[in-house]
């Protein structure tokens, strides 16, 4: 499946993972309500309900009845693991296919990656 061609509720989930990984949503803290997020993202609240349902199923957020939704105590670690797995399964195969097609070796990649890291550190 094409990586971009994913249903909207999954695309929103990605945004919420980003909130967790970037630290805007912190472990154990309360997160915005479904309604607040639906308004912010300008989507149907039913869609946001589906997204929250997915994150809840994965254990990244949980619902305290009558109070609202909270990020799990290990939300960041869990999200990182989820995103790593997704990267390995959804993105790497295409990437490897292209590498093979273009005749690139892991050694070349290693060098490029090191150069990338260096230039990134210089920027900071």
């Amino acid at each position: 499946m094409q990586y971009e061609n994913r249903p909207i509720y999954i695309q929103i989930a990605d945004y919420l993972y980003e909130m967790i990984l970037s630290g805007k949503w912190t472990d154990g803290e309360r997160v915005p309500s479904i309604r607040e997020m639906a308004v912010q993202m300008e989507v149907n609240p039913n869609t946001m309900t589906r997204t929250y349902g997915l994150l809840q199923e994965q254990g990244v957020i949980f619902n305290k009845r009558g109070i609202g939704y909270f990020a799990a105590d290990k939300a960041r670690d869990m999200t990182l693991r989820l995103k790593r797995e997704e990267f390995i399964h959804s993105e790497l195969p295409d990437f490897f296919k292209k590498m093979e097609f273009l005749g690139m070796t892991p050694e070349e990649l290693d060098e490029l990656f090191n150069r990338y890291k260096e230039s990134n550190h210089e920027d900071k």
């Binding site: 499946m1 971009e4 061609n5 249903p7 909207i8 639906a38 308004v39 300008e42 989507v43 869609t47």
Partner: protein, 282 residues
Amino acid sequence: MITIDNLTFRYGKKPLFDNLNLSLKEGNIYGLLGMNGAGKTTLLKVLSGQLFRKEGDADVLGFDPGIRHPEMLREIFYLPEEFFLPRTSVEVYLKLYSPFYERFNKEEFEGYCEIFQLDLTQKLSDYSFGQKKKFLLAFGLASGTKLLILDEPTNGLDIPSKSQFRKTVASAITPERSFLISTHQVRDMENLIDPIVILHQGKVILNNTLEEVSSRIRMEKTLGEPAPSESILYSEKVPGGYYSIRKAASPSEESALDLEVLFNGVVTDPMGIGALIGEERA
């Protein structure tokens, strides 16, 4: 909240609806799609007691809409495509019209007006067309009615207003209310309207949630024209390639949905795609 059975309606001798069936539930933002002349506005007017059906049963909030019972009318706000606003101040308008709606909430109204950047000290007649529309939208959203009918609400709105429109609608919907929005501007409503209702050749040929739609079909963009096969239900040329609708092979791998392509596909092949999506679920 709305049930219509075997509705028939004609203008003169020409039948517009022929045994039309429709059922709408609370808590949803329905998108009503249909080609020019399909009868979207007529359907909205029949539902709200502004036109009378010839045959068939209709139940709107527990009433026959043709009777125009006040108990029903106070639970419906209807924003027509072309509307009238009196030459008064906002204050006078609220005094005149808000008593019709017992749950009208002035704070919410002011909140929506703020999102729409409306100057409430101005006379209504000094507003531009788009501002008038936004004023009525804010009023309707704040009216608290169980049913809110919007006929082409984003026509005439400028670009920032379309985002403001989505925000206000998403914040005004509650489990007790339903919105029925007719539109040609599906890009303005993408990710907002769900379920989708498609009116075509006198019948409702689709009335399903996007979750139901995506459990039955996949959409795929390819560079080349997809080779004809049994699983390809529809395809059309779009900038940069082809968009095609396939039958879903497994329930797991959902795809993004493009409402324009969905509409074109369902209207081109109602018995195929429409029936496949609408099929009873096990």
